[in-house]
């Protein structure tokens, strides 16, 4: 069976739903929702939200695009609206004005779990450390860190410990806990513990999922007058 195709010269004003692939070479005013591949050719214009398994755009789209797998903007494509898919790619010469969201719901919740588990690095430990642990897992980490820091005892007083504090938090919450059984200098523990206590606090103020999407939007914004001002 041939792929469905709205030809150049044709204009459809309304709603398209369907099963299978669809190529738009004409103009559509209205939403498109299909379960296959949606291709908007260079001559194609869509004003409306589009939803498909994957979407390739070489023409113009004004509306939000939501694909399960991939949204690809070819050179010469112009899209005004938000793009949401597992993967989004925009070739050079493609114009996209809108937000990109490359996470599926599942990925989103996974990330949420990861960040609350400590992957998110506290960007500034300078927030005057009120030593009161906010999270219940804070004590676990105080025992964790000394083990990690053990080799670099000598460096403990150097300013680098702030940075060091940020990195070890990430992938290994369990292994060091075992190491921690090794008796280590107490003083070391205290210093580090202070830093650790600061980290959860900043984490609580900066809610994890927030920074994910805007990063791209902000990058765009920075190029605009905002950045120069």
């Amino acid at each position: 069976m041939r792929t469905s195709r709205l030809p150049q010269g044709a204009h459809f004003d309304g709603r398209i739903r369907g099963q299978g692939d669809l190529i738009i070479a004409g103009a559509v005013d209205g939403p498109i929702e299909i379960d296959g591949q949606l291709t908007i050719e260079a001559t194609g214009v869509v004003r409306g939200d589009i939803r498909a398994r994957s979407i390739a755009i070489a023409g113009h789209v004004e509306g939000n695009a939501h694909a399960i797998e991939l949204i690809r903007l070819e050179p010469g494509a112009k899209m005004i609206g938000d793009a949401r898919a597992e993967r989004v790619s925009a070739g050079t010469g493609a114009l996209l004005r809108g937000r990109i969201r490359t996470s599926t719901e599942r990925a989103q919740s996974e990330r949420m779990r990861r960040t609350s588990g400590g992957t998110l690095l506290a960007p500034f430990s300078s927030s005057g450390g009120t030593a009161a642990p906010v999270f219940s897992d804070a004590p676990l980490r105080t025992t964790t860190l000394p083990g990690y820091f053990a080799p670099s005892e000598a460096v403990a007083d150097s300013p680098r410990e702030l940075i060091a504090d940020a990195s070890p938090v990430s992938p290994m919450p369990i292994e060091p806990a075992v190491e921690a059984k090794r008796p280590e200098p107490k003083a070391e523990v205290v210093v580090v513990a202070k830093e650790v206590a600061a980290a959860p606090e900043t984490r609580s103020s900066a809610t994890p999922p927030r920074p994910v999407m805007p990063v791209i939007g902000r990058q765009k914004a920075v190029r605009r007058p905002e950045g120069s001002a």
């Binding site: 195709r5 010269g9 709603r15 739903r17 369907g18 669809l22 070479a25």
Partner: protein, 118 residues
Amino acid sequence: MQRTSESAHDAEGILGPGFVLEGKLDGRANVRIEGVFQGEIALDGALILGNQAQVNAPIRARLVEVHGEVHGRIDAQEVFVRAGGWVDGDVRAGSLTIDDGATLEGLVETEADFGGAR
């Protein structure tokens, strides 16, 4: 009839059996519909409704060929209702051909110099 060959140069489109369109289709193109269409069709070109087509719309086109099911009036220079085709509506055409095994229910008006779709 010359118009028909002329319109063959226009882009051709097809909307498969899995598709449901609700709205108005117009423009200069030849289109084949195999799915469900609800609304209005005004094409400067040929419209072919496949045997799985279910169209509920007034139709204007240069040429209309029906293999499926149409509810609505048809305005065209040439109209063909093929075997298995089913038209429920009035037909106004320059020429009308109804094949064996086709069904047409409605008023028919043919004019030799009918201009077809504008």
